[in-house]
Symmetry: C2
């Protein structure tokens, strides 16, 4: 009883859908780099790098709008069927997460600029470790989307615990710094915020992963048919 339009022979549609996929991957790549650069500007005390990274956020915002427009255009011009519809609506939702990850990278840079103006409190060990995990979570959540791979998505969700643990560990350590020497309080709270931003980045990756599990499961729409007027 499938009397839906022959979408898969529609060249424009295929092209738009491919454009959405590659655009999301590209946006994910830029966002991953923003995380790496933000942490580098902190660890290497490179304020110039921090400022460049903040400026590059405009590109993330532009891509966010562009991806949303692509999704809406696909919905408006074509009548995507169940599995494509799930992909497009998931795309529409995860651009927000990617854009917010970019915002958190900017927040890290802002704290890095402030921290770079004062003597270094301590060598950064857990923060880069946390950033590395968060970055891998962003990468793998996008891969899970492209491959429609719920197992990989679930793995991303599990990795979030590790980030939460590191965040708590950093919190305890900074508390003891502050208690021992109140002079460290302004710097310690800034590092505390950096840790929180990374935790939030991991949360966004987790949210993307959860949406992919939901998308692949997609029982509510899998059995739906387009109603003809």
């Amino acid at each position: 009883m499938d009397n839906s339009p022959p979408q898969h022979t529609n060249r424009q549609y295929e092209e738009d859908l491919r454009g959405l996929r590659s655009g999301l991957l590209k946006m994910g790549g830029v966002v991953e780099r923003q995380i790496a650069d933000a942490i580098e500007s902190l660890v290497e005390r490179n304020t110039g790098r921090a400022r460049e990274t903040i400026e590059r956020d405009a590109e993330v915002n532009r891509m966010d709008t562009e991806m949303d427009e692509r999704c809406i255009r696909l919905l408006a011009l074509h009548q995507p069927a169940a599995s494509d519809l799930r992909f497009i609506t998931t795309g529409l939702k995860i651009t927000t997460d990617l854009e917010r990850i970019g915002d958190n990278a900017v927040n890290i840079c802002e704290r890095a600029i402030e921290l770079n103006e004062e003597p270094q409190l301590k060598p950064y060990i857990d923060i880069p470790r946390m950033a590395e995990i968060a970055q891998s979570m962003v990468k793998d959540s996008l891969d899970a989307l492209m491959r429609e791979d719920p197992a990989l998505a679930r793995e991303v969700i599990e990795r979030d615990d590790e980030v939460d643990q590191l965040n708590y560990q950093i919190y305890r350590e900074l508390l003891s710094y502050m208690a021992e020497d109140p002079q460290t309080i302004p710097r310690a709270t800034r590092i505390l915020f950096v840790s929180k931003y990374l935790e939030r980045i991991a949360d966004h990756a987790t949210n993307i992963a959860e949406m992919i599990v939901y998308m692949v499961k997609g029982s509510t729409i899998r059995h739906m048919e387009k109603k003809k007027p």
Copy 2:
């Protein structure tokens, strides 16, 4: 040249769309209450209230999934035209923000439970003020959506500065508490986190408002026509 299907005579479609509108408003109402209850549990040192609020988050999560399903069903079963399409895709995006606001209310409750176990550091004055503004931003962003009112949405966006200012003020005040008496550090950092959660709630409301401005403007899709197979 409008040869789109006669959607507005389709009773099921109208009913689904109405269901989405009232569902989003209801979800917004629950989320507003979660913010109010979270702050009450902190200010009145009511741990029982905090626990109830944490439990009620399951309702927010359920509504989030339900609203998403409603949006996808509307897209799958009908071919919504430009203005409805914009509304539905905006709905799909803002459920994520509403759900995250609920998560932040839970985070406030968690910190409240911890803070309630220790002597009160100071009377809460700026935190309830901040919560009140954040709550009004959530309410007005939803109203702006329902009325498709970009002026109200812009007002919400402006109010975010006030929240950021209060957040900074609280940060400075807590820094001085910590510096004067290191014993206050664990409590002060927890209050600092509460302030951050409220700031994030206001950010989510701002994001909702920005999407409404974009939705109403919607130049990219306003001039689109459905392509016929």
